[in-house]
Amino acid sequence: MSTHGPLSEEGLVRLLSHTGERLDHPDFGRYASELDAARLRRMWHDMTVVRAFDQEATSLQRQGELGLWVQAVGQEAAQIGSGHALRSSDFVFPSYREHGVAHTRGVDLPEILRIFRGLQHGAWDPAAHGFHLYTLVIGAHALHATGYAMAMARDGLVGTGQETDGAVVCYFGDGATSQGDVNEALTFAAVNDAPIVFFVQNNQFAISESTTRQSRVPLAQRGAGFGVPSVRVDGNDVIASYAVTQWALQHARSGAGPVLIEAFTYRMGAHTTSDDPTRYRSHADEAYWAERDPIARLETYLRGIGELSDEAVEAARAEAKELGRRTRETVKAWGRPETATMFDHVYAEPHATVAAERAWFSRYERSFADQGAHA
C-alpha cells in the first residue's frame, strides 16, 4: 500500500483494528461510548443481512431477473456505521450504492430492486424514510443535499439543542470528488453554514480508475480547501465509522456548518454486474482487502469478548435466508407496469404535448385491439 497520496492509510481514525482489537482515539473514542455489545451485535447483524441481500441480488441479475446490480460488498461498515449514527430528524442523500444506509433508514431492501428490474427510476418514498432517491448522475445530488440542508436550517431545525435538530448526510464516492457539482456543493455549504455531512466512501475505485486518477492527496484534505472541517476514517471499521459520523452530525446539527468525512474502504466486488475487475486489479490487492473484511473484523471482536453467540449467528443466517427467499419471490412477482404509465408524472399539471401523445398512443394501441377483434 502506498504511504502517501489518496490511498495512504495515514491519519485514519480507527477504533477496531483489522484483526479485531478494540482501540481508542483521543478525539473520537468518546463518540463510540454508547455502542454497547447489544448495539454492536445489531450492527453486525445488519451488515450480515445486507451483504446476504446484496449477494442475492447479484444472483438474480445473473439469472436475468435484473438488468443490473450495483454491489456494496466491502462497504458495509462505512454504511451501517454511519447509518446507525443517524436519527429520524436527519435526511440522507445517497448516490446509488448505499443499500446498507437504505436498510438503516427502513427501506425494505427488495424494493430497491424495482430500479434494477427496470420498472421505475425511484423506488421508495423519500419523505417517509428521510432517504432520498438514488441519483445516478455522479455528484448531482450533492447540491440537492446542500440546498435541503440550507432549508432545514431555515426551518429552525438546527442549533436548538432539541431532538428535532437534524442534519443532512450526503454520500458519494471517490470519483465523484472530481465533479464540479461536488465542489460547488462544498462552497455553497460552507458559505451558508449548512448542516450537512459530506460522506465520501473512498472505495479506491471509480469503476476501473484508481483514486490516484482523481487526486494527488487524501480526499479528506479537500474539505479544508473550502473551510470545511474534515476527518479520515477507516471505513472498514464500523465502530469508527459510527463515531466520526456521530461527531459530524452533532457538529452539523448544532449549527456549526458542514463537515466532510472520508471513509477509506475497498469495493470488494465489481463496480456493477456489468464490470470485470480482473481487467484492472490484482488478486493480491483483493486478497489484502479480503483480510480486512469489515464484517469479519467485528465478528472477531464480538466473538473475542463473548458477545456473539452461535444462536445470534444462526438467527442472522436465518433472517438472511428468509430475506433472500422473499426477495426472489417479490422480484419475480412484479408485473410489467401498464404501458401508459410512461406518460404519468412527466409534469404535475397537464401539458398539451404529453396529453396529445398519450391520446395518440391510446388510439394507436386500440387500433390493434380493434384489428384483433376484426381478425
Partner: protein, 337 residues
Amino acid sequence: MTTMTMAGAINRGLRAAMERDPKVLLMGEDIGQLGGVFRVTDGLWKDFGGDRVMDTPLAESGIVGTAIGMAMRGYRPVVEIQFDGFIFPAYNQITTQLAKMHYRSQGMITLPVVIRVPFAGGIGAVEHHSESPEALFAHTAGLRVVSPATPQDAFDMIQQAIASPDPVLFLEPKARYWDKGEVDESRVAAQLEGEHAASAATAEMSRGRVAREGSDVTLVAYGPTMRLALQAAEVAGADGTSVEVIDLRSVSPLDSDTVLRSAKRTGRVVIVHEAPTAFGPGAELSARVTEQAFFHLHAPVLRVGGFHAPYPGSKLEHDYLPSLDRVLDAVDRVMTH
C-alpha cells in the same frame, strides 16, 4: 390599471408572490443589494432581507442544484440566471435533475422552481449576452418554457410560474425590459386565491393568444419578437395583407391548437423568433402545423429566425436578427401562393 415597464412588472409580480407565500425565495448572482444587473429585483432585498433574496456564490449549477434541494423541502425558489449565455453551467442540473425528478419519484416530489433568464438580443452586448436558447430546453420533457411579451403578461405569468408545481424556465426578453404598458394587478391575484389556483395558473400560462386578428396570414411570435410581429402586421395591413398575430407565450407546451385554429383559416403561417432557425422552435411549429393542417395550407410554413452561426458582434446583430424586412419578405412569399 398602472403603467409599468416589463422589468417593473416582473419586480411587482415577484413582490406579490413573496407577500402571498413566505416559501417563495429569490436566489441568484447580484440580486440582493444591487437588485440584479437589470434591477429586476430592485428593492426586494431591502424589504424581504437577505434570507429571502439570496446573493449566491458565482456558480449556476450550484444555484439550480441547491434550489432543487430547497424545493424538496417545500420552498419555491425563483432563480435568476444573469444572462442567457450563462445558463449552460446549470444545464446538467436542469436537464437531468430538475426536469426528471418528478418522474423519477413517480410524482412524489414536485419541484416548483422558476428559473428567470433575461434572454435574446438587440441590446448591443458582448458575447454570451444575447442568446435565445429556448429550443435547448423545450426538447426536454419535464420543463415548462414560457416568455412574456407585455408588462401585463410579465406580471401575470411570473406569478403563475411561481404558483405552478412544475419547474418553469421563465425567459424575459431583455430588450423589452423598458417598454411600458398598462397592468391590471387584480386579475391574477384573484386567480391565485381561487380554488385550484395552481392548476388554473399553470394552464393559463401555457396558452397562446391571438394578439391581433387577421385573415390572410398567421404570424406567430413570442417574447422578444412580438413587437416586431405586430409592426409587420401593421405594415402588411397597410399594403392590403391581413395578418393575424399569435403570441405563443409558451414554448413548452407549444400551444399549437391556437395556431392551428388560425392556420386552418388563413392557410399561411410564418413564425418569427430570434433563436437560430435550424433545429429551433419554429421547426416544431412548422412540423406540427404541417402534420395537422396540411390540406388547409396554401403555402409552406416559413420560419424567420437567427442564422446557424454564433451570435455575432453587436455591430452585426441587427443583420443576424429577424428584421421587419425579413418578416415582410416571408409574408410576401407565403402570399404568392
